[in-house]
Structures are given as structure tokens and as C-alpha cells.
Symmetry: C2
């Protein structure tokens, strides 16, 4: 099952909906969309949809692309001088370094717009699809990912709860969008969807803790502000155990989720 949903396959999908004009903003969009991202969010979405629904619908593919557009816009805006001020992204010049700040702001705006546009052209006769679309934009909006960015920029981490909240929203909410939208669009029950959401929350926080361990030399907000390296490693292991136990509760082949969780545990980038 996993073999069909490759990075190359998702690259082709992602390219399908982008506008074909060639102005500066469109060049900046294309540049940012194709800089070697791992595509793990759309991949998790499609794999979940396929595990639950046994096939990939056009609606599921639209959701996967929309999620990658949202993720990419958030990186472009995060890298801006007034935000994280990163000149590099994945070892290449970040969007504003390459195209200037104004084009980068507009490219981000255009990608978020494109996410909605792509979804609005799907098949809305499906109630599952409607729910998935609403959930995706809930997760990406001002009580979701953007709330996480707000916490990250404008608040202090004083406790493990604070750190969890930032990680849950900033990193976790788009992983929740991936797994829960995949489950919803394929018709998972409400009970199952709740378990998928719990899995995604654990994965999202674990992903952020490992990011913090790998970025230990950067002076950014980090789980390392409140835990030792050893404490962080144990935390990721506990979250991984939780993911495995939750997968056991669902009647689907979720090996790809187990693999993702284990790969995160051991990843070095």
C-alpha cells in the first residue's frame, strides 16, 4: 500500500492545481513548493484515507494537496525577517531571500488561497468531505496552527504544559489535519476519528520534541528549556508507546503510522 504513495506521486499531485501563470509570485510559489520537502503530511493523509477507505478518491487527493499548500505557506511566512528570520530553508535560499519579502508574503497568501480553491472544486456531495474541509481549516487557523505561532512568538514557556501547548498547535495541528482529514474523508466513524486524533496529537508533540533535540544548538524555544536531553528522549518514547497502543485499538492496517512514529524516534534530521 505504502509504495504507491511516494514523494514523486505527491509532487505530481501538488503540481496539478497550481496556477499556470508566470508572474513573480507564481515563480515564488513554485520555488517554495519544490525544494525537496518530505511531503509527510499529504502522505499521512493519503495513507490514512487508503487504510480506512481502501481507495484514493479525488477528494482525498485535493485534501492532501491543500494540506501541503498550507504547510508550505506557513514555512514561507515563518521564515520572514519579522518572524524567524531564516535565510535558508532545507539548505536552499528561503523564499524571501530568493524573491524578496513582498513576493514571499504574496506567495504565502496565494498558497493559502490555493488550498481553499482546490478544496472548493472538490465533490461536496460527500458529507465526509465537507467535514474534512472544515476540520483542515480549523486546524490551520487562529485557534489551530496560527494560535501555535502566536504562542511561540509572544509567550514564554514555563512548564511542560506550556511546551505541549505550543507543540500541539504549531506542529501538531497540521499532523492532526493530515490524519484526521484522511480518516474523515474515507468515512471513519466518530469513535475511530477520535482515536486517530489522539494518535496524531502524540505524533505531533513527539515530532516537535525530536526537532528540539536536533536543533539543540539553536537559541529557540525548546522542550530543552524545561527538560533534560534524557527527559526529552524518554518523553518521545512514551509518546511512541501511546501511538502503538492507540493503533492497536483500530481495525485498520496502520503499519505506516507505526513506521512514522518509529522513524521519528530515530531520525537525525
Amino acid at each position: 500500500m505504502k509504495n504507491n504513495i511516494t514523494v514523486k506521486y505527491i509532487d505530481e499531485l501538488v503540481r496539478e492545481y497550481i496556477p499556470k501563470n508566470h508572474d513573480k509570485v507564481s515563480l515564488a510559489i513554485e520555488y517554495s513548493l519544490f525544494t525537496g520537502g518530505k511531503r509527510f503530511r499529504p502522505m499521512l493523509l493519503l495513507q490514512t484515507a487508503k487504510a480506512v477507505g481502501k481507495r484514493l478518491t479525488d477528494n482525498a487527493k485535493r485534501l492532501a494537496c491543500a494540506l501541503e499548500y498550507i504547510h508550505t505557506y506557513s514555512l514561507i511566512h515563518d521564515d520572514l525577517p519579522s518572524m524567524d528570520n531564516d535565510d535558508l530553508r532545507r539548505g536552499k535560499r528561503s523564499c524571501h531571500t530568493q524573491y524578496g519579502e513582498a513576493a514571499a508574503i504574496l506567495a504565502g497568501d496565494a498558497l493559502l488561497n490555493l488550498a481553499a480553491e482546490t478544496l472548493f472544486r472538490g465533490n461536496f456531495n460527500s458529507k465526509n468531505y465537507r467535514e474534512a474541509c472544515a476540520y483542515m481549516f480549523l486546524m490551520s487557523g487562529s485557534t489551530g496552527m496560527i494560535h501555535g505561532q502566536n504562542l511561540d512568538l509572544f509567550t514564554e514557556t514555563k512548564s511542560i504544559d506550556d511546551a505541549n501547548q505550543v507543540a500541539l498547535h504549531k506542529t501538531g495541528d497540521l499532523i492532526r489535519a493530515a490524519i484526521v482529514c484522511g480518516a474523515l474523508v474515507a468515512g471513519a466513524t466518530e469513535e475511530e476519528t477520535k482515536i486517530f486524533d489522539q494518535i496524531a496529537i502524540n505524533l505531533g508533540i513527539a515530532y516537535q520534541v525530536v526537532d528540539d533535540l536536533l536543533d539543540a544548538d539553536k537559541c529557540e524555544r525548546s522542550f530543552l528549556d524545561i527538560m533534560t536531553v534524557e527527559g526529552c528522549r524518554n518523553y518521545v518514547k512514551r509518546l511512541n508507546d501511546e501511538v502503538m497502543a492507540l493503533c492497536d485499538k483500530l481495525p485498520y492496517d496502520l503499519q505506516f503510522i507505526r513506521d512514522f512514529s518509529l522513524e521519528n524516534l530515530n531520525r537525525n534530521r
Copy 2:
């Protein structure tokens, strides 16, 4: 008919869907949404919907709010230092001047997100609504308004055609979204919708020409780069005549459009 759809009525609608959390980004959103905007885009949308469909549905109200969220986000991002660098907006501090650049970028992102979120929670059993949602995001995206901002920032105006293209997209496309989405959601025929679109295109360009006349002292791209003041005034009159002739072709009471066009002709701000 017009009396029911007041600025106050739209203010209340716009407030209905905004998130109730109180982080910095949410404060910036609220600040920017309630700084005395004229609300003419949502007003045109609701008036068109009412003229065509005789009543205002929940879907029409959602479209009106989404459009105002999109318009507001575009102003916040336009005012940023790397874009138009405006410290003031409607005589008050612009969003980034009040809350800082990072919060302003996120507030704009959150408003665009909120527009989609508000629409995704509407009643998608209506094909008219689905078409209106898709049209709105087409008009606001990278071949619509954002393309206009791209032209404005990164190209030169050498001819009336160039100036029309900038005005059509930068200013016109959200006015097209207002009038065409209002017509679509209320069930206008394809033929009628085309006429509404022509009306909106004329209004949009006329609105930009008058803006340029009123901002003659600013060193910005302008119709005055390629036409005299007299030429501009005559151009607005011709566009207004065209609007009147197009209104005559439609079987609806479109006095509010005639009024809008005449008010634009004579407006001094």
C-alpha cells in the same frame, strides 16, 4: 431594501464568525476588522443576493463575511513595510504599527483562513453556493487579486491596457467577487451572471480611477501616469454609463448598483 443592509448590520455579521480567543493575533484581527471600513463589498454582495433571490440566506451572509475577511487581510498585508509601508489606515495606526509585523502577518493569514473556514461551514447542498465559494477564491487568489498586487509591485504601467489590468485585478476582482457571488448564491442564470460580472468589472476599474484622482499627490502607480485629470474623469463617466446600460438589461431592481456607481463618480474619499 437597502435600509436593512446597513454597516451596523454587517458589523454584527462580521463579528459572528471571528474566534473568541484573546491572544495577540486575535486582538490584531479584531482591531483591523473594526476600524470604520465602509463595508461596501459585503453590502454589494448582500444587496445583489437580495435583489436576485428576494431574501438573505445564511449562505449569502457567510459569503459576505468571508469577503470582508479577505478584503481586511489584504489591507493588513498591503500596509506592511515591505509592501506599501503605510503607518496609517483609515486615519488610525495600521495593524503592524499597532501590533508589530509578526502579529500583522499572522492576523492577515488568520483572516484569509477564517474566510475559508466560514464558508466551509455553510450549506453545501446548494450548487449555487458551491459555485459562489469557488468563484470568491478564484477572484482573491493568484490569478485574481494577488495577481493584481503582483502587477502593481513588479511591473510598469506603459499603456491604458496595463493600467486597466492592474485595476481589474487589484481592485476589481473583489468587487466582482461581491456582485457575482451575490448573484450566484441567489440563483441568477449563467447569462445574467455574465452581465453582473461586466457591471462589476466597470465598477471596479471606475473605483480605482477615482482613487487615483483622490490620491493624485501620492507617488504611486496611477491612471494619472497615462491620462490627464480630464481624461480620467471622462473615463469614469463612460464606465458609469456602461454600468447603467448593463443594469437596464437585467430584470431586477438594481438601484443600489446605480447609486453606488454615481456615488463613486462624485466621491471625495
